[in-house]
């Protein structure tokens, strides 16, 4: 195996004996999974930095989005026609923060790969694969105007 696994060439892989092919594949998957976990960690940190500890309803202009956190979770808050909607801020496609994307009506479009979700149902509108809907939450406005995230709907 080359010192940097990313430098493997197709011809080199094709020449490996069966057991070596299997062993290198296992090593390669371990490396690839570690990078995947790092990517997820970076995306989680991006969501963390993007979340405000407290959000008041009046802080969100009509048709705009912001993010807050509840426990270990970051929640996207959006105001459409005066009503506040709350969904998980992690894009169901790759995990980037959805609040950095755009809002058109009830449709949230992720800034990174254009995945789209419906705020009302959490339904995935794009990409057209059978992805799980994004989790939705109840929002309660407390007496001091701060928004409190309730249970998952």
């Amino acid at each position: 195996m080359p010192p940097n696994m990313l430098e493997y060439r197709r011809e080199q892989v094709a020449q490996l004996a069966n057991d070596k092919l299997e062993a290198d594949w296992q090593k390669y998957m371990t490396f690839s999974n570690q990078r995947q976990r790092l990517r997820e960690e970076v995306q989680r940190m991006m969501r963390k930095k993007s979340a405000a500890p407290r959000v008041r309803s009046e802080d969100i202009p009509e048709g705009r989005m912001t993010a807050t956190k509840v426990g270990a979770r970051e929640i996207l808050l959006a105001k459409v026609a005066g009503q506040i909607y709350a969904i998980d801020n992690a894009c169901g496609h790759s995990g980037y923060p959805l609040d950095k994307g755009t809002l058109d009506g009830f449709v949230v479009t992720c800034k990174w790969h254009d995945a789209q979700f419906d705020l009302r149902s959490g339904a995935v509108l794009a990409p057209g694969r059978a992805m799980k809907p994004i989790p939705r939450f109840r929002v309660v406005e407390t007496a001091d105007g701060t928004l409190k995230i309730g249970e998952e709907l």
Partner: protein
């Protein structure tokens, strides 16, 4: 690229994290490329046979290209089942490291699970796909009639 620790990530600004995420996404393209050299090689080394395996053991999984189709053969409770060997999730050869537990087949790549009888997806982290299934008929002498292999509805 050196691997940042969680503490390193904590200290980074949103924009720095965003840049790192972009670098990791670029690296992922290189990772994918090499990963596919391996996967392509697994396909190349899959046995081609004129006839389907007649000597399948109970609970055994075997990949064989039969009549121009890459098929996964399995025998459970004396019945031979045939599924498309291509995992519907990412096209990984299901025979490569796949596990069979009762009628549940688990793909070694991302852990997608399929019912060997119907091809239905039993479990997947984010998406659900059905696995293409084929009809396998065992003749009186125990060999599998390749002519009878056809796609089910």
């Amino acid at each position: 690229m050196k691997t940042p620790t969680r503490a390193d990530l904590e200290k980074m600004s949103f924009d720095e994290l965003s840049e790192l995420a972009a670098e990791l996404a670029e690296e992922d393209e290189a990772i994918k490329k090499v990963r596919h050299y391996f996967i392509d090689e697994f396909w190349t080394r899959m046995p081609h046979s004129a006839a389907a395996p007649g000597d399948l053991k109970e609970g055994e999984l075997r990949g064989a290209s039969v009549a121009g189709k890459s098929l996964l053969w399995a025998k459970v409770d004396g019945t031979v089942y045939a599924l498309s060997d291509k995992c519907p999730h990412r096209g990984f050869p299901l025979h490569h490291g796949g596990k069979l537990d009762g009628y549940t087949l688990t793909c070694a790549y991302h852990g997608g699970q399929f019912d060997i009888r119907t091809g239905a997806c039993v479990k997947h982290p984010t998406e659900t796909f059905a696995c293409e299934r084929f009809l396998a008929r065992t003749g009186a002498d125990g060999t599998i009639d390749c002519e009878a292999i056809r796609k089910r509805d």
